[in-house]
């Protein structure tokens, strides 16, 4: 996030929240509460989502687009803003570059043209653009609905284009704000758990950076980028990758095209899985290393707003479970690299020496406060808002892009579009939440949302068992007949091991980030007529 969550609490009349590709109330409930309260105080809300959510109920404008048509929609918003002169001319002149090229592209996307691509009425596009153009402050929030597309990078850039076009960056109650999906995914990325960077987003292809780390760690830093997940799987197929070490991840349920992932991870010579439960992935591992839960470890978490917070051990881990840092350092020792840390603080201190954004953050400071990076010095208060007074990189760059359709479109054999997402009760592959009585109770099984028209055509009634299939697999689940989805669209989650949407999803991915297109693929649905006797469970079908 360029900005901070707390700013939402100050939003009201004159402010606008633009939520695109985020089911905030379900997936980030606390931020969702803040958003609804802001709306109640008088802030405007624009929601871009193919599916009806709690957020869409409160929206001033709901742009119900076809999955994967975000670029066309965002370009059309820019088109209308430019047409009416609502852009932030001063900001654009002073702080941006490449505006002319962007204008060229935006010109092609009239609301009518965008309506044809996105399915959103041109009128609604115009209304949304007017709200954005005339608001004092616009804060944009997005999540996987933007990134998990073959056009993921283009989508993010298109979002960013809107922000800089209207000067809604580097100020209070504005910004480009991706809401991260996990408590510490921001921290993991900050720590360099990415194939191309070292901690603090320092590029491995930078010689000076490599030199700095080589000196600190006493070893050579490879200059080649690491592999992204699709390349890892490809490497296994080509016998180039011999071992895979996975921790805190369950790709056998969270990655697209599970059948293919399973095939690869079964094929690889050595599979190590480090997790707190015996996940589906752990079950096929050669070695399972038991980790600890959040309550059993010390360290820091870095939240979606770049806020570094201390986490303290509350209970002792059971059995042979060890914190990740300890397992890793023991492994390093065993493999002949000296790594005798006594406490995560030592690791944190080592890290902040090498990571300028974290340099000013210390355990001592974290004892009484939490800090948002960049925090270069120990007397720096942290940075709640990025890009204040101009972009950190110098000039904010417009990166125009044209609309590209999703990799797989519906056809006669697979006539429906599947989009995936989450429900409030469950987290990710359900490894943890499906072990909780209450969470399991409110969401006991997968419900495939399907529009009444499609359901009627297929002879499917609400609550009936159905089969959903794609070119990659087939799963069975229960039909939820609802107008939450448009005709032609079905929605599933990947929380349920026995009915995972990722059996069906497409592994086609963004060319730059290799983020897979989990938000759109083609599927077919049929009623299950020859089903085994239904196993009665205690919960009544949900409303």
């Amino acid at each position: 996030m360029t900005n901070s969550i707390a700013e939402i609490h100050s939003m009201g009349p004159g402010d606008t929240l633009l939520a695109i590709g985020t089911n905030t109330t379900e997936c980030h409930p606390i931020i969702g509460i803040a958003m609804l309260k802001a709306v109640k105080r008088g802030a405007k809300l624009i929601v871009v989502d193919p599916r009806a959510t709690t957020l869409t109920q409160h929206a001033d404008v709901w742009l119900r687009l076809n999955p994967g048509s975000d670029v066309a929609l965002l370009n059309a918003l820019a088109h209308v803003i430019l047409q009416n002169g609502w852009q932030a001319t001063g900001y654009i002149t002073e702080h941006t570059e490449n505006f002319a090229q962007f204008k060229e592209v935006a010109r092609k996307y009239s609301p009518e043209e965008a309506s044809r691509i996105t399915g959103v009425p041109a009128k609604n596009i115009a209304t949304a653009a007017e709200i954005i153009g005339k608001s004092n402050n616009v804060a944009i929030y997005y999540t996987m609905g933007i990134t998990q597309h073959t056009s993921g990078v283009d989508n993010v850039m298109a979002v960013s284009n809107i922000a800089i076009l209207t000067g809604n960056i580097g100020r209070f109650k504005t910004g480009v704000n991706p809401l991260r999906g996990q408590n510490n995914v921001q921290g993991s990325c900050d720590m360099g758990a990415l194939p191309d960077v070292l901690p603090g987003y320092q590029k491995v292809d930078n010689t000076a950076v490599r030199k700095k780390f080589a000196k600190a760690w006493g070893c050579e830093i490879p200059e080649k980028e690491g592999l992204k997940i699709p390349s890892v799987l490809e490497g296994i197929e080509k016998d180039e990758v011999k071992a895979v070490y996975i921790f805190g991840e369950n790709p056998l349920r969270s990655d697209p095209d599970i059948n293919h992932v399973t095939h690869c991870l079964k094929k690889v010579e050595l599979l190590i899985v480090q997790d707190i439960f015996l996940t589906e992935t752990a079950q096929i591992a050669d070695v399972v290393l038991p980790g600890v839960t959040f309550a059993e470890k010390d360290g820091t978490f870095t939240s979606t707003e770049r806020r570094v917070q201390r986490v303290r051990k509350a209970i002792e881990p059971p059995g042979q479970c060890k914190p990740d840092w300890l397992i890793l350092s023991e492994l390093m020792e065993t493999m002949g690299y000296p790594a005798s840390y006594a406490h995560p603080q030592e690791i944190f201190d080592e890290m902040r020496q090498l990571t300028p954004a974290y340099a000013g953050i210390t355990y001592e400071r974290l004892e009484n406060e939490s800090l948002q990076w960049p925090c270069p010095t120990t007397d720096h208060p942290g940075t709640p808002i990025l890009h204040v007074g101009g972009s950190m990189r110098g000039q904010a760059r417009f990166v125009p892009a044209d609309y590209r359709p999703p990799a797989e479109l519906p056809d006669a054999a697979y006539p429906l579009v599947l989009t995936t997402g989450r429900v409030v009760a469950h987290y990710h592959t359900g490894t943890m939440t499906r072990r909780c009585w209450g969470l399991r109770g409110v969401a006991p099984y997968e419900e495939v949302e399907i529009h009444p028209n499609d359901a009627a055509a297929l002879g499917i009634a609400d609550g009936e068992p159905i089969s959903v299939s794609s070119r990659r697999g087939e799963v069975q689940a229960v039909a939820k007949v609802t107008t939450r989805v448009s005709p032609g669209l079905v929605f599933m989650t990947f929380h349920y091991s026995e009915s995972s949407g990722n059996m069906l999803t497409n592994s086609a991915c963004d060319p730059i980030t290799q983020t897979p297109e989990l938000k759109a693929c083609a599927v077919a649905v049929r009623k299950i007529t020859d089903s085994a006797p239904v196993k009665p469970i205690s919960s009544i079908h949900s409303i």
Partner: protein, 205 residues
């Protein structure tokens, strides 16, 4: 795969629509007849034995039948397990019924009925001799030859196996419907939620 438990569906009448024509009773009796399903009245040899009951009161008419209770008191009362849950109905196995009538005591709806058994228009006898003085050939009870006629309890089986219960399919007023408790609940809650949203906005403002 887990799927939701579905509560037993049942037939219910809309008293506002019922005109009291008794077609439901005829239809019920017809499809449950212990003879080849009679198509015409003249081919109906067994007496009409309906499993739903048109109740006529000064307020109007309405047919009453089994609710297929989840904890069916009739089933719990049956000493020979003749009443069980079959698919999603509470079902009487008439072959097992001993005519003890306990289920009739238990049912709060009056949905069960003890009937003499006929097959192809003839009373079905059982191996239960009548005391010689009371034995009369073909007396009004259908007893004959010194033996008592077989009696069993019957009740609505929601025409299990048919696409639609006969009463529902044949009601000329469409006054009868099969209720799915889940669908009913969902519809009610949906309405309640929508109306609540508006009401509470007024109350809290």
């Amino acid at each position: 795969m887990n799927t939701p438990y579905r509560l037993n569906r049942f037939v219910i009448a809309d008293p506002g629509k019922c005109i009291g024509c008794r077609v439901c009773e005829i239809a019920c009796s017809t499809v449950h007849s212990r003879e080849k399903t009679p198509l015409t009245a003249g081919n109906m040899n067994n007496p009409v034995q309906s499993r739903l009951y048109l109740v006529r009161t000064p307020q109007g008419a309405v047919p009453v039948q089994c609710r297929h209770c989840e904890n069916a008191p009739c089933a719990a009362a049956c000493p020979v397990l003749a009443i069980t849950q079959k698919d999603d109905v509470i079902y009487v196995d008439e072959d097992l019924c001993i005519g003890c009538k306990t289920c009739m005591l238990a049912c709060p709806f009056g949905a069960l009925k003890l009937v003499p058994v006929f097959e192809n228009g003839l009373p079905v006898e059982q191996n239960l001799p009548l005391l010689s003085e009371t034995a009369q050939p073909e007396n009004s009870n259908g007893d004959s030859d010194g033996y008592k006629q077989l009696h069993v309890v019957i009740k609505c089986d929601r025409c299990l196996g048919l696409e639609q219960p006969a009463c529902v399919a044949n009601c000329p007023q469409q006054a009868l419907q099969v209720v799915s408790p889940e669908e009913h609940l969902a519809a009610r809650m949906h309405e309640a939620a929508v109306s609540l949203a508006a009401v509470v906005r007024n109350y809290t403002s």
